[in-house]
Amino acid sequence: MKLTLKIWRQKNAEAKGKFVDYQIDGVDGDMSFLEMLDVLNEQLVAKGEDTVEFDHDCREGICGSCSLQINGEPHGPEKLVATCQLHMRSFKDGDTIVIEPFRAKAFPVIKDLVVDRSSFDRIQQSWGYISVNTSGNTIDANTIPVEKEKADASFNAATCIGCGACVAACKNASAMLFTSAKVSQYALLPQGRVEATERVKAMVRQMDEEGFGNCTNTGACEIECPKGISLENIARMNREFLSATTKS
């Protein structure tokens, strides 16, 4: 398959970027999208040109490293997959593919298609954990019974890989789905209830400070999330936050 790639190239965070067109031939439908970019980079190396920078790590959809806005959608046109799981059979011979970095004030571009998603780390660090004594006398978590429905909902929320597709898809660049998944995974469990009030306030405050937009419930985040994180988590975080505010 022969493709035209329109790729955002930007030397560094301060430089002004631009789209550069590349022609690529011999693309196999069984290649992943990242493998196709590997082939392009090999061609660029052979020509002595600067390679296209993009984030990747596990290449099996669990690390949340890969990003890319592909033809106007984060992780491309397929649903419930990360860019590394997107195969080139989703495209046709002769297609033009526009590849951009995730765009948000809180996700500044570092180089080409690589963005700084450390704002997510700071939200997680603000209280995305439970305080447990791990000095040797840790009580087994399974000694506390948890209703199956709540355990399932908590585990579903915990499948968030923090890739940032929710922010990239949202017209407001809101991080509500990510933050709500992290709040929910603890709020649903007895171990997380102990610090639930402080947690939701701290994580929402950090989310706002990072410069993400406001959620307007368009639902784009849920649809584009490679792990299918539900909007119900946002409703839960709203309840948790409003309830926490009345307690202060």
Binding site: K6, W8, F19, Q69, N71, G72, E73, P77, V98, E100, R103, A104, K105, A106, A169, K171, N172, A173, S174, M176, V204, R205, M207, D208, G211, F212, G213, N214, C215, T216, N217, T218, G219, A220, I223, E224, L231, E232, I234, A235, R236, M237, N238, R239, E240, F241, L242, T245
Partner: protein, 220 residues
Amino acid sequence: MGGFLKSSIARKFAMALSELFLVFFLLQHFTINFTSVFGPGLFNQWSHFMGTNFFVQFLLQPVLILGVVFHFIMGFVLEYNNRQARPVKYKKFNGSANTTWMSRNMIWTGLVVLAFLGLHFYDFWFPEIAHKYMEVNPDDPSRYYPELVAKFQDPWRVILYVISFVFLSLHLLHGFSSSFQSVGWHSKNKEGIRKSTVAFSIIIPLGFIFIALFHYINNV
């Protein structure tokens, strides 16, 4: 209150509360207006009550105006913040792949509704306030129906009202169901709530369109 409204969730919560309040007002406004289809009797009676009752005039009316002003100002503030959150736009943004047109264009449908409110105030509210509190006319409980019918004799006004109600419907189609999410409402009957809000968002504006067309056609 100011500190509370610094949070993005609290702002959306306040926005949703004002939305639900305005939806309730819309239902009440429609119910009274719809009585005009059956003749002047009931419509004049209700309009006179609403126009002269102390509780309605000096408590509910200011709350309503505050609600409307708050909804619009907060809408603009949120829109401004959201635009700041993505300073560099995408070259290609396929919004239709994952969202409805209504959810992406709330600011524009809201601006049309705001412009309509200007016209509506010019048509009905300002003359009413002037009649009651400035000109100090004698109380006439039968004046409301003829005033309403007279306004809908101008075809351009009718066209503007019809267009505005279409935009109101588009605004409500996202806003009404969205407000439940913003207040943290979660029900197992999510689909039932969505269908009810969609039905309301179509039926009520259609009803207002029917009233405007009814009085125009009835008196041509």
